[in-house]
Structures are given as C-alpha cells and as structure tokens.
Amino acid sequence: MMLTDLTIAQAVEGLRKRDFSATELTKAHTGAISQLNGRLNAYITVTADKAEAAAAEADKALVAGDAPALTGIPLGIKDLFCTEGVRTTAGSRILSNFVPPYESTVTANLLKNGAIFLGKTNLDEFAMGSANLTSAFGEVENPWHRTGDSSVLVPGGSSGGSAAAVAAHLAMGATGTDTGGSIRQPAAYCGIVGLKPTYGRCSRWGTIAFASSLDQAGPMTRTVEDAAIMLQAMAGHDPKDSTSADIAVPDYRAATTRSLKGLRVGIPAEYRPDGMSEELLAVWQKGIDMLREAGCEIVDVSLPHTKYGLATYYIIAPAECSSNLARYDGVRFGVRAEGATSLDDLYEKSRHNGFGEEVRRRILVGTYVLSAGYYDAYYLKAQKVRTLIQRDFTNAFEKVDVLLTPTAPTAAFGRDEKPEDPVQMYLNDIFTVPASMAGQPAMSVPVTLDSKGLPLGLQLIGRHFDEETLIAAGAALEKAAAFTARPDLRAGAAA
C-alpha cells in the first residue's frame, strides 16, 4: 500500500506508531503532485518546500510526543482561504498577485492542530461555478473517466480542485467552501466525501467571501471518519466572525460508530423531479435500503418549497456577491489596470480585466436585483421565500432526524458538454441549494458507480448544528455501500 492511499485516520495512527514519518508522508504527496498536477491542474499554487519544512517540524513533535490531532497530515487548501505569506487568488486574475498578511481562522485552526498544507487548490473564480470551468488558472480535470472513454470530465465546482486532489490522492483531505453546493457537488462528481457544516459552525474570517449568508467551510475527504477528524479541527466559535456560533463542538469522530437504531430518515418527495434518471432513482433507493437495514425508520416527508430554492439562490447569492466583490478595485491590493484616466476608469478597467465572464454576470445580476425599484420584488421576496424553505426543513425535522436525497442530478459531465445557457448550468445545484438556503448541515457520500463507471453520491441533510447525525448516518451508508472504487488517474496509478 502506498502512503498516498492511506486515510487520514490510518495516517494519524501510522505516524504515531512511527511506521513512517511525516516527511515521508508529505514527500509522497508532493511527489504525486509534481507527477500529476500538470494534467489535473488541481493546485494553483504548490507549496512543497513549505510543506516539507513543516513535515520536519511535525516529525520532531511526533517524536517528542507533543503532537496535536492532525500532526503531519498533508492537506490541500482551497485557494479561497487566505494563507499568510502564500498567494491567495480565489481563482481570479484580479487577485493573481495577492499575498495575504494574515491566516484565515479555519486554516489557522488546522495549522494549530498540526496539519501540513501542500498548496492552494483550484476553484471556480470566487467560488462561482459548478464545474471548475471559470478559474483564471485553468480548468481542473476530474481524475475519473467514463469506462473506455478518455474524454475529460469536469470535477464539479466550485471546490473542484480540492475534490480532484483528494480523489487523485494528491492530498489526504482538503478544505472546501460551500455556498450552494460547492463542497457536496464536486465531492459527488469525484467520488469522495464532502461535508458542509451548519452555517455558523466554521468561522468565515479570512475566507474570501462570495455570499456571506451562505458561505460555509467544510472538509473534503475520502472517508466519513476523515471528514469528522478534519471538521473537528476546523470548527469552533470565532469572536472575529459575528455570524460564528458560540456552540460547543462535539466529538465528531465518536459519531461515526453511533448506532442508527430508530433513527428516522426522511425521503423528501420534491427531490424526485420529472426527468430524473432511472439510474439515479435506483441509487437513491439503494441508499434508502442500506439505511433501513442499518436500523433506520424511513419516513416520507415533503419540502414543498424545494423548487423555489434555485431561483431564490440566484437572487441572494449574486446580490451579496455584487457587494462583497466591490472591494476588488485595484487600489489597495490585487491587479490594477494600466493607463486609467480617472477614478471610474480605473475601477471599470481593473474590474473588467480582473473578473471573468461568470463573475461579471453574477455581479450584474446582483446589482440589478438590489437596484432602486427592484429590491422588494427580488431580494426581499427571495429572503421571504428563504424563510419558507427553512420552515419546510423545520417542519420535516419534527418528524425525522435526517434527510436522504441525491447530491446532484447527474454524474460528472464532459468539459465539452458544458451547457451554453447559464441557467442550465445552475441546475446542477438543484439538490444542494435548499439546505444552503436554510443553513442546514449536509454531506455527500459516494455510494456507487453508474453504468458508465462514474461515481454517484447521496446527500444527507441534518438539523442545525447536528453534524453528528450526518456523520453517523454517513458512516453507515459508507459501510453498507463499501465504495472502494478509485479513479484511474491517481497517485501511483497514473495512466
């Protein structure tokens, strides 16, 4: 077995038993990155030297017996988390030279727990996208391919670089951020686990904002237990983030072995839209059966406002982004356009050149829906519908403890199959957006391969601040599914 094949849980144990050193573990990953990243483009910035230096320190701590939970574990960091002294781009040209003089709370928490950062993973520009096609640093390739078909598939988005890196064993785990599905959907496309915690569970301080009322950091890993271990280190109250919850963080790893006897699992009728593939329906049914066998009670529930989730999202997220991205103006940081003749000229040139098409589009939609005369009809209305969506969840969670749905309507699609119409592209988020709108925690777990050999994931949605039930149910699903398939393109097995 190669070191890059280990789970985080296994590596934590192996490091402590000195079966291998942190340096060996890190070098195995930096080696794999240098071998594969040229093709996958999962990392925008690789910090191999820094990682190896940190690994040497980790080894000292491990020898001294003074090693916190994640000591020596090499991770990828989505390039949306500001990292002190390490360029942070948000996948955008406008930040292509930005070196933060500060460390985000989430990454600082991981460093405090001993984690080693391999580099900054690729993403859709400012986390806006579902296929990792909008990064200014190039597209990311999904390490999976259809059986007998070498066409390049997208890894999903926006945390596509993190998903591809974890799936291809170029990191043991990675941080992601999820605004409307940006952790869960790429996790499903790449056959890994992705957990979006409750809004407020992980601090947003130092993470570049897309839509502030939705953005939430979370772990992307190859197992549910690994997600629990990473989340443990990432989560917690942060006085620097006014929307961070002052609620104790439970022992997530302990939840992985919790019994599911009597757990009530809701199956929402509205996640079965017309035209859903038979294959996806079958996978969903398979998941239902697995949880029933694990002792769960299956309950039909209704979330009647589900179909309004996407439209609501595509008002609120652009509105917030139009304001959040106003600070990128070429004055205090980032790339400034040359030859501007006036202040407005500077703004317009810097922002036109600095932002890609999708980001510009969302800023414009957001500007429009907030503009005079339209605020009530769009933004205020959407926030009211959002209340209705949240009430749907609150009502459902009176009857059940967790919901089970598909994560995405399809498996990963081809880079050439990208729909021209932005609205068609937005439909990828149809199952992930409602939980985001309501702030619920949700997790995607890989369950099986489809007939073309691509992974499909199922989504669990929980009550606010009850990530433990997600982890318990996710671990049971994972165990029953015994999903061991790995992509053809991965460390040590590259085609």
Partner: protein, 484 residues
C-alpha cells in the same frame, strides 16, 4: 424671529432640515479594533478590516452602541431595542469596502426633539427624525501630486452618529441655534467632542423654499458644511438661489451641492447621469443588534444632568436669572465651576462675578475655563472675603486681577497689599471730618439742596482710605455728619 425672502412672486419662506454627522467618542472603531485618535501618521490607524481586505469581517464595538443610546436618551428619543445594519453600496476612493455599513431601514434611535432658544427669547422644538450608527470614510489628499489623489484610511471605519432633524427649521438663526444646542448636548453626554474644525461634527443641510402654506418644494442637499457660521450662510445663499430659479420660471433639481464660502455660492456636486443608487440591503455579516430595556434604563440612570435641566435647577437653587443660568450651563466645565463657587455661598453674587469680571479676565488672557489660573476654590475664597467684609467689591476687582496675574490666593494678596477693609469707625470719622473741613463750599451747596453731592463726599472719603473703607459705614457716618 421670522426670516423670509421677498420675491417678485410674493414672500418665500425657507424650509431646512439638518443631517449632522457626529463622530462617536470611543477608543476603537465601530467594527474594528483600530484606534480613533485624531492626527496620526497616514494609514497607521487602519486594520485590515478597515482597508476592506478579502475575508475580513466586522465585529461591533459595544461602547459605540452605548454612546448612540446615551445620545438618543439625551435627545429624548425613542430607543429601538432591535436595530439592523445595512450596506450602502457605492464606489469611491475613500470607501475601501465598496460599501458603507450604516443603518438604513432600522436605526437604533427613533423620533426625539431638541428645544432651541432664539435671540428674541422665544423657544422652539425641532423634531429629530432618527439617529443611526455608521462608518466614517477615509480621507483623500488632492494637493500633493499633480496626477494622483492620495488615500489615507485612518478615519475609515470610525463610528459616526448621523442625527437627522425634521424639516422644522425656518431661519438661518434657528439652524445655528439647533447646531449649538445639539453640540452642547453631545458634549454634556460625552458622546461627541463637537469639534467642527477637526471634522468630528459636520452637517449636511437640506434646503428648500416655498410660499407660506404651500407643500414642500424640491430640496437641495448641501454636503459637509463644517462650521455653524457656514451652515447659516449656506442656507441664506442657497435659499436666495432657489428663489431666483423658481421666479425666473425654472425648477430646482434635487441634487447634492457644495458650499464655497470664499465665493459665497453653492454649486452642483454631481451630474445627473451619475445619480446614485445605493442598493441598500441588510449586511449579511452582522446579525440584528438587540439591546435590553434594562441596559437602556441603566444608561439612562447614569446620564449626566443635561443643559436644560441644569439651567432650571440653577435658577431655582441659586436664584439666578434665566439669562445668567443659560450662560453658566453653556459648557459642562463652566457649569461645574459655577457650582463649586456657588455652593454654600450667595449664588447671585457668584453668578455676577463669574459672568462679569471672571469671564472678562479669561477672555483677556485667552484662556478656557479649564486653563484658568484662578480656580473655583480661589474665586470662592474671594467671595468669602467680600461676604465677611474683609474687602469690599471694588477692592475685590483688583484682587481678582492680581489673582490672574500671580496665582496667589485672595487672602495673600489682601495681606501683601494691605487691602483689608477699614471698619474702624474712628478712622472713617476722622477721614470724613477732614473731607468736610476741606470742602465747606460743597457742604453749603449740598445743604442748599444739591443732593447729588453726597456721592462726592463718599468718593472723597473712599479716596482718603485708599478705597478700603467699608462703603456702608462711610455712608452711615457721612449721613450723620452732613445731614445732621
């Protein structure tokens, strides 16, 4: 006093509302831990939050909330236990985030009022619409480079209170009185230092004109006027301009204007096609601000006595006139000084001395009350010397002057200069006898009915005693001698 403009189409009255931006007194900024001290090196009092760096988030300063509530209570206004912060979105070089965090839809303070007094003695209440908290912007420097404006963010993020009045003001004088009264209240409360020349209090002036009885006409907003005098001038000039526009058949456009005191004119600041659309929406980085009634009550209980109440109490407790009381409560420090002097003494005499010779001496030396070389204890000691007849009032004037020069106690001066009042009857009798003997002609005239000459004799006796004789005794003795 009414103020109207006579035009060719009749008489115009002016309608004015004021939006005052008052910098909150706090150590750190509204949403960041950077210092608020005035005059620091450029871009030193700036956190990465103030500079709008990616991923930076606001956390509200509790003291700024308390200061807004105190101010609301001081303006007898409704305190909103739940308020919210909104983003006001626009691009400008002094606005690092691309939006200002402000309170648009749900301010922390609602309706209140300020009572003003005018020079003719009349009083009026001016309504307060609201008070809300918001961030200040940075500063642009235009005169250091031919092609560039330089950006200093030291002030960016400092907490402001925007205090909005109803359009109740009808004369430039009322606007001045409103601003002076507001500044006085803020200073008493310790919520804003009111220094307009440092920019810690600035006014936006909304002006329109109308014929009496008409509904409001279009108003113009004159931005950032930085002295009370300029506010009053700007209103006069802008109102005259608007009357001229209306009377020449034009229409006044709703716009932002700038007052140029050097040219005595207001001019349009932004062109119409550049009209702002601020796209306000609730700031998703901040939850609603919820405060408890109990806490508000505690703040209320700990408020200092405000000028109106203090003035009434001074009149009642010390028996002084409304005018004197008004002068003495103008500033907290003066009022405190007065109370130290007046406590346990004759309040009227204390008021007369303070508003008279004492203020005159301060003015002459160019000192504020806090810098006065004569403290309340010394002034009080001087009043005591008058009260116990150690010196008389005339000598006291000289003593006070010497106190300002040397810093001695009044008693030291009296002793050193030998100014003790002469109360020795024999000495006064002798002086009186001498004066009478040397002025027999005057005595004749006096006795012949020229009553006014009594004062001459008093003056001569005082002169003979170097002013130290007790004036009452001089009077009594002279009466006995020359009337007898």
């Amino acid at each position: 006093m009414s103020y109207t403009i006579e035009g060719s189409t009749g008489t115009w009255e002016i309608v004015v509302g004021l939006e005052v931006h008052a910098q909150v007194i706090s150590h750190s900024k509204l949403f960041s831990g950077a210092s608020t001290v005035f005059g620091a090196e450029p871009n030193t009092q700036v956190s990465l939050i103030d500079a709008g760096f990616p991923g930076m988030l606001p956390v509200i300063n509790h003291e700024c909330v308390a200061q807004a509530v105190r101010t609301g209570l001081g303006l007898k206004a409704r305190i909103n236990l739940e308020s919210r912060f909104d983003r006001k979105n626009y691009f400008y070089a002094d606005l690092p985030q691309g939006y200002q965090i402000s309170q648009f839809a749900h301010p922390i303070v609602g309706e209140g009022s300020i009572g003003i007094e005018l020079s003719d003695g009349s009083t009026r209440d001016i309504g307060i619409t609201r008070l809300h908290l918001e961030q200040d912007a940075g500063k642009l420097i235009h005169d250091q480079d031919p092609k560039l404006s330089l950006v200093d963010l030291n002030r960016a993020g400092v907490s402001l209170m925007e205090i909005v009045s109803e359009p109740d003001i009808r004369t430039p004088e009322e606007a001045g009185a409103y601003l002076r009264k507001l500044r006085q209240i803020l200073r008493y409360l310790g919520t804003c230092d009111g220094n307009m020349d440092e920019g810690s209090m600035r006014a936006d002036v909304n002006v329109s004109v109308r014929h009496a009885g008409e509904p409001f006409r279009t108003r113009c907003e004159i931005k950032n006027v930085n002295s009370i005098r300029f506010v009053m001038q700007a209103i006069e000039i802008e109102a005259a301009r608007q009357v001229e526009v209306w009377e020449s058949g034009g229409t006044v456009d709703q716009e932002t204007r700038l007052f140029d005191p050097a040219r005595s004119e207001t001019r349009s600041l932004r062109s119409k096609e550049d009209a702002h659309d601020y796209r306000y929406f609730p700031d998703p980085d901040l939850l609603p601000l919820v405060i408890g009634q109990n806490w508000v009550d505690q703040l209320k209980a700990s408020l200092p006595e405000l000028p109106d109440e203090k003035r009434a109490r001074f009149q009642k407790d010390y028996g002084i006139t409304a005018y004197d009381a008004g002068v003495l409560v103008a500033e907290q420090a003066i009022a405190d000084f007065y109370e130290s002097v007046a406590k346990g003494r004759d309040g009227k005499s204390a008021a007369a001395w303070m508003t008279g010779d004492f203020f005159a001496a301060l003015n002459r030396t160019g000192k504020s009350i806090d810098e006065s070389p004569v403290g309340a204890d010394k002034l009080g000691a001087m009043l005591d010397l008058i009260a116990d007849s150690t010196i008389n009032g005339k000598i006291a004037k000289d003593v006070l002057e010497t106190m300002f020069e040397t810093g001695e106690t009044p008693l030291e001066i009296v002793e050193r200069k030998g100014l003790r009042q002469v109360t020795d009857t024999g000495a006064i009798e002798k002086a009186a006898d001498d004066v009478i003997a040397n002025n027999t002609d005057k005595l004749e005239q006096y006795r012949g009915g020229k009553d006014k000459l009594f004062g001459f004799f008093v003056g001569q006796v005082m002169k003979a005693t170097q002013g130290k004789a007790n004036p009452a005794m001089v009077n009594e003795i002279l009466r006995r001698k020359i009337d007898g």
